[in-house]
């Protein structure tokens, strides 16, 4: 086999800190449930038969699959299952099962209702499946805490975890594809693409304030910075010399997106979770590890 392939496979199998996937296990369900909360509060209108639903269009491209509206009780049951499984996963209770059930409810609502499906809805099943097929829940979880209190054994700090590698690649792939889509779109032709997006109903008071005071050239500069970051993200995140800078830029970019485009804040939080989990430097993970150790009971010294 070729050397790069060998190196790639070795990288996949290299042990990574378990805390990385625990960050996703704890924060991603919260971001997803935050996004879903407005819908869940009206589950009967959303996926139930109380509200308006697009009729069966028999193969129309805008309707990937027709799922009839649920009876009211079933809509509330799906919503309750989503909340309970998401919270259980976040708390580390039956982590694998709860992540799988959570992912299943996310797939269902994404296909059931095109009108309420956004990037968070479509992306989150893959994230939760990655959590399900990982050792998530081994640290900083309720069940692991109780088990450990009984046995006194300390959890392993590092393990081979394909899910962490998957999420690291997913972030880089998403940015890169997003950058290419922007290049193919207007981002190299129109200097005020960013400016054009701050005037609709997503506008927050911060977006309005910035639009009122920033000169036109700053919007073009920000646009260029975002495009450069996204387009070359695999490079920035792949090279050790630029990784931490790229992480800081990505976190700042998503913070600004969340502050300026109200409803997009949940996607921003989800992306920040994936970025932090995948690319926090080992030193920062070390600090988290110290914190985690304080929360993990240890009666006797066990295997590490």
């Amino acid at each position: 086999m070729h050397r790069p392939v060998h190196r790639f496979l070795a990288w996949l199998d290299e042990p990574t800190p378990v805390l990385r996937i625990e960050i996703v296990r704890i924060c991603a369900p919260l971001a997803i449930l935050g996004f879903m909360s407005g819908r869940i509060a009206h589950a009967d209108e959303w996926i139930g038969d109380t509200g308006f639903h697009v009729p069966d269009l028999g193969g129309d491209w805008r309707q990937p699959l027709f799922i009839p509206a649920l009876p009211e009780w079933a809509a509330w049951a799906v919503a309750a299952t989503m909340v309970l499984s998401g919270l259980a996963c976040c708390l580390g209770v039956r982590t694998r099962a709860s992540a799988l059930v959570f992912a299943a409810t996310l797939v269902f609502v994404a296909l059931s209702d095109r009108l309420e499906t956004y990037t968070v809805t479509k992306l989150s099943p893959a994230v939760m499946l990655a959590v399900a097929f990982s050792p998530a829940g081994a640290r900083l979880g309720l069940e692991a805490y109780l088990k450990r209190k009984k046995s006194g054994k300390r959890p392993k700090k590092s393990r081979t975890c394909g899910s962490v590698r998957f999420l690291q690649l997913l972030v880089a792939v998403m940015y890169s594809a997003s950058g290419i889509a922007k290049v193919r779109g207007d981002w190299l032709k129109v200097p005020l693409v960013l400016w054009s997006h701050v005037h609709d109903s997503y506008q927050t008071p911060i977006a309005f304030a910035l639009a009122s005071v920033l000169p036109a050239w700053t919007w073009t500069l920000l646009q260029g910075m975002v495009l450069t970051f996204e387009l070359f993200a695999p490079l920035w995140l792949g090279l050790s010399g630029t990784r931490t800078w790229a992480l800081c830029f990505g976190l700042s970019m998503h913070t600004m997106i969340g502050l300026m485009f109200g409803p997009v804040r949940w996607l921003a939080l989800l992306m920040m979770t994936l970025l932090a989990a995948g690319y926090l430097p080992e030193r920062a993970i070390g600090w988290l590890d110290v914190l985690a150790e304080r929360l993990e009971p240890a009666r006797a010294q066990g295997p590490r």
């Binding site: 308006f52 097929f133 998957f166 290419i180 193919r184 779109g185 693409v193 005037h199 109903s201």
Partner: protein
């Protein structure tokens, strides 16, 4: 207990271990295919759409975010045809689409965004709005004692200001406050249907 080994010292793969290895390979192939799908879709390739089932392809469409400049700030509105007066009046759709009422993630906006040129969906929306208003369950800007026979569905295309212009916070204004050239009607209930619902001949509704 260690890993079982053959007489020459190589590890012997038990059945669960073999399954686990196969499962790992299958997961890696799936994960790789998903990542490739996300990248190709965002990059503008038609390959995922041509080879994946539509439901699967839907889940790889996650990366092409905001590629185009907005040419206007778009909002969608509805008017109801009041049978007793033979006149159109703005119908506030928010009570009938209670999720995210104040922004474009509202379901009425979404149905107009995706399906405004899809006749069966617009007809279904027409029936839904008329039934909702005439059942007099919620306040929608048209007095509940005035039945409506149909709806007119339109978009508002509000120009984007130039940098340096005096800006106003985005807020919802009555339909009547927008000039005619900013409105574009996509659908109105056919006259025959209006007559049927209102129980009388209707003129000049288009």
């Amino acid at each position: 207990m260690g890993v079982p080994r053959s007489p020459i010292g190589t590890p012997i793969r038990t059945r669960p271990a073999t399954w686990s290895a196969r499962g790992r390979v299958a997961l890696r192939v799936l994960a790789g295919a998903y990542l490739l799908g996300v990248w190709l879709d965002g990059s503008g390739s038609g390959i995922p759409a041509s080879i994946l089932p539509r439901a699967a392809n839907y889940f790889v469409q996650v990366s092409a975010l905001f590629p185009w400049a907005a040419t206007a700030s778009i909002d969608y509105r509805a008017e109801g045809f009041i049978c007793s007066e033979g006149a159109w009046m703005e119908l506030d759709t928010r009570p009938y689409f209670p999720i995210d009422t104040e922004d474009k993630e509202n379901r009425f906006n979404r149905v107009m965004h995706f399906f405004r040129e899809n006749r069966p969906t617009m007809t279904a929306l027409d029936s839904y709005l008329v039934n909702q208003h005439n059942s007099a369950m919620r306040e929608d800007g048209i007095p509940s004692d005035r039945a409506i026979g149909g709806v007119r569905l339109l978009s508002l295309r509000i120009p984007i200001p130039a940098p340096g212009d005096r800006l106003q916070r985005m807020s919802r204004q009555p339909l009547s406050s927008y000039p005619e050239e900013q409105r574009k009607a996509f659908y109105h209930t056919p006259r025959s249907r209006l007559a049927e619902r209102c129980g009388r001949h209707v003129e000049g509704t288009d």
